[in-house]
Each structure stands twice: as C-alpha cells, then as structure tokens.
Point group: C2
Chain length 295, copies 2
C-alpha cells in the first residue's frame, strides 16, 4: 500500500452517534484501542465537554475529526430567527476549526410552521450559504450540505435528493460548499449513481489535496447506515447496523470512489438497540460489518 | 357549467379508506346524502360484501367507482409466488370490471427478503405489466402504477417517484398503463411538476373520452392526502386531513389540470383519528376542506 492510498479500514471513521452510550473519553479510548483512526463528532457533547478539551482529547488519542455535525436550519422566515441561526452556524464553524476538521455537516431545515413553500425554503438555504461561505473559508472549513431522506422534508430538511443538494452547492466554489452522501438517505433513488458522478466532476476550486482527493469534487463526506423496517415512531432512530438492511453499501462505496472520493468513510447509525449494548462490542461488530459489507 | 366540464365538487371521490369505520352500505348511503358522486374501493371489503352485490349497491346509489385498490406486489423472485401474484392481479382486474371502474391501482411491491437489488425488482414490475396488459385490455381496465413515498421503498413499493413510474408505464400504450398522482407520496419532489407535465403528454393510445380527458394522458388517478408529522410507527397510518399539513394541494390540482387531467379527484386518508369519529362528520369536514384547499 503506497502512502498516498490508505486502506479502506484506515479510512473508517466512527460517528459518535453510533455509540451514544460512550462519553468523549470513552469514544477516544475505544477508537484508539480498536485501531479506528477517525471520529465524527456532534456539537452538543463537544460543547458539554468543552471544545478545546475535546480537541485535545481526540488529538492526544491520535484521532482525526472527520466531520462535525451539525449546522444548518436555515429555513426560518422570521428575521430574528434567521439571524440567530446564522450566528449559531458561525459558532459551529469556529468549533469545527478548533476541532481540526474541515467539514461542517449541514441539515438544512424543514418548512416553517404553516408554510407549504418548499421552493422558498430552498432559496433561503442558498442565501444562508452565501452569507456563511466567506466565514467558513477563513477557517478552512467546508460547508457540507446533507440531503436527508424525503420523509424528513417537512420537519427537518427540505433538501431531499443529491440532485437538490448539488443544485444548491454548485452555486458556490467546490472547495467552499460540498455535499454529504449518506446511504441511509439516498439508497432508494435511481438517479443517485449519476448524481454521485456529477458530484465528483472536476472544475471546482479545491485542489487535489483537499478532502475527497479529486479536484473539484463536491463529495465532502460519505456516511453509512443501513435501511431497516419497520420504521419507529418519529422515524429518527431506526437506522440499521451495516448489513442488516436493504442498502447495497458496497455499490455506494464503489460509486463514490469512481467519482474520485478517497476521504473518510463514516459510520453513523442512530439505533437505541446499539446504544443499549457495550460500546466496545458495538464498535467491534461495526468494524466486522464494515469489512464484510463495504470492503 | 357546460355538460362536458363537471365542477370540481362533481369530481370529488371518497376513497373508502378515509372512512374505514363505514360498511359498504354506509359508504354508499353517506356519499349519496352528501352529494359525493364517486368512491374509491378496496378489494378486501368488496370481496367480503360480495363483488356483484357491491357493484349493485354503489350503482343503485348513483355512485361511480373511480378506482379499485389494489393490485401489484410484482417483485417476488420465486416462480410460485410470482405466478400467484399474477393470478391475484387477474382476479383484481375481473373485480374492477365487475365494479364498472376503469382503473386498477397497483402498489408494485418492495424488495424480496434479503435482496438489495432495486433495479432487478423494477424490471420484474415491467415484466408483470407486460403479462397483465392484454388481460386488462380485454376488460377495458387501465393498470395504474402508483409511486409510493421513498420511505416505503424497502417493504412496499420500489417505485418511489413519478419519473420512475413513468419510465415503466411508457413501455406500454397510455391507455393500458397509467400512473397515480398521489400528493402524499410525491409532494417533496422538486421534479414532480415537470413529471406531471410529462405524464400529460399526448401521443398515447387512449382517446379523448378516456379517464383524464387528454389524449394519451398517463394520469390514471389523482389522489389527495396531506403530510403531517410526527410519523407514526410503521409510517402507514399517519396521513393528514386536507389542509392540516405541508402539501400545497391546490398547486397539485392545477398541475394535473394543466396536464389535461379532468378525471376524479379522490381523497384517500389513512388516519385512525378520522376512523374514530362519526363518518358523516368526517365526510362533511372532508368536503369543506376539499373546497377550501383544493378548489
């Protein structure tokens, strides 16, 4: 293996939501012991631990922070709410920079109460990206727009497909605004292969040494979870362990690699059944599943 | 109002699932009293009552059966299961013809257990349509492929967008295979307006006096429900009364009419809160909401 091409296992990153039962020190220790070299972090537990302390903790454990979740929620119409959301996103960009990650994941926001205007909400996302892009650029953090499954369109994210995310991202330089390819959200879409190809297209502003590897790639992050049914009430916590569901995970990995992506492969599973188990066991299982179903 | 252009209220059809608390005689009586002229029926209650008796009942009440739900479930790989599904669909076509409706709604089926092959499942749907189309033609019933929300892709219907449904339907004459435009399933999709236009395109086999009015229109049925959150466990029974949710129902009505559709407008809401109430009240509320949010 040449130094420029890390093995797939070296690219594995554990999103901390997968092992929500773990504190940050447990996460850092558990990953280091398991040989997992990347972690995806969330703002709330990082803030609770202290941003600087969390940055030191993961750095001392030899871990790379592959993404910070999450900014976004850009769709408010009310000017005060909107200003507060932008302020909060600037704080998120500061936190991302402090943690040493180049990727802030954005969940765009749903429809404001009483609104049925999807198009208007999507335009407000573009406006917010335009406001935040210079601030992100100063911190060398990329805004990573995540399309969420269409079942979240009303209350969480009006960006439902990779095509929609790219339509928004492409208004900006590739180095400033990218997209998240998350198998859980996108697996059902028969156009997703073509859109991954579109996301990998060259011509953007980021150099070949940026995340993802390819010049101009819009793929800022690649996340894995499987789709299992029945969905639980509220449909937030029903993601499946790799291999337990309907998603052809290997196909996705091959598609993003064909599009030039060589960045982290982050496992992000929201599932109370995993949280009820021993974190070390869950991580060991996740690594096994990753090798069996993704590698 | 000229005889050729029925008012919107004349086009209202009540799908019997909206008032599941009603028996078939209650449904026929309730609709006749409320001035509702169409009903959408489901196979199980019709079979239980007796197909011929149900046909007589609704005819005597002056009602038109605007659709029969449902055939489909075409995605099995096992030859025995597949043959049984086709037999069952032939029975459904016989029942549709007996009820005097020209529209059999098809829910295509999900992934077979253990499968991750969406493309293969979609091809098996095309094969089933090819097998059933001549049988449907003999009975003058149109196969109406319904795209279901992507949250059902694994366990219920691998056809998740209007574009996918049209890709399948367009392999056949427009008079033989159409599509269902259901607001609940399609509202989130920013390409749905363009796809409704595509569905209304001329050039098909059905004449101007067929359902939908426009020569060659693929729009076999137009169904309404609103999108409300949080979704319940299993996500089957969480549809909203018209006006309670995120869907711009009037926009959809205008789009299908711009595409040439002048057929029934069927309200199909699966919601236990509606079933717990008096059916007459629910129907009166539905008519009021229909006029306020669709008309």
């Amino acid at each position: 293996m040449s130094p420029g091409t890390p093995s797939l296992l070296d690219r594995l990153s554990l999103n901390q939501q997968t092992v929500r039962q773990w504190s940050l020190p447990e996460l850092a220790d558990g990953c280091a012991r398991a040989g997992v070299r990347g972690v995806g972090l969330w703002r709330a537990p990082v803030q609770q631990y202290g941003v600087a302390a969390a940055a030191r903790l993961v750095r001392d454990a030899g871990l790379r922070v592959t993404s910070l979740c999450r900014g976004g929620f850009f769709t408010a119409v009310d000017p005060m709410e909107r200003a507060a959301a932008l302020d909060d996103n600037r704080a998120a960009l500061d936190e991302a920079a402090a943690l040493g990650t180049d990727t802030l994941v954005l969940v765009s926001g749903g429809l404001p109460p009483g609104s049925r205007d999807l198009r208007g909400a999507r335009e407000r996302i573009a406006d917010a990206l335009a406001e935040l892009a210079p601030y992100a650029a100063e911190r060398d953090v990329r805004l990573a727009l995540e399309p969420l499954h269409p079942m979240y369109a009303a209350d969480r994210c009006v960006v439902s497909t990779l095509a929609q995310a790219l339509d928004l991202a492409e208004r900006f330089p590739a180095g400033r605004v990218g997209v998240v390819v998350d198998t859980y959200h996108l697996w059902w879409d028969d156009t997703v292969g073509a859109q991954i190809g579109r996301a990998g297209g060259s011509g953007g502003a980021r150099g070949t040494d940026g995340p993802g590897g390819a010049a101009g790639s819009r793929i800022a992050a690649f996340q894995l979870a499987d789709w299992v049914t029945p969905l639980p009430e509220g449909v937030l916590l029903g993601r499946g362990q790799l291999g337990d569901g309907s998603v052809d995970l290997r196909w996705f990995r091959e598609r993003v690699e064909a599009a030039g992506y060589r960045g982290p492969v982050e496992v992000e599973i929201f599932n109370p059944a995993l949280w009820a188990r021993d974190g070390t066991e869950v991580l060991a299982e996740t690594v096994r599943r990753f090798l069996a179903h993704v590698g």
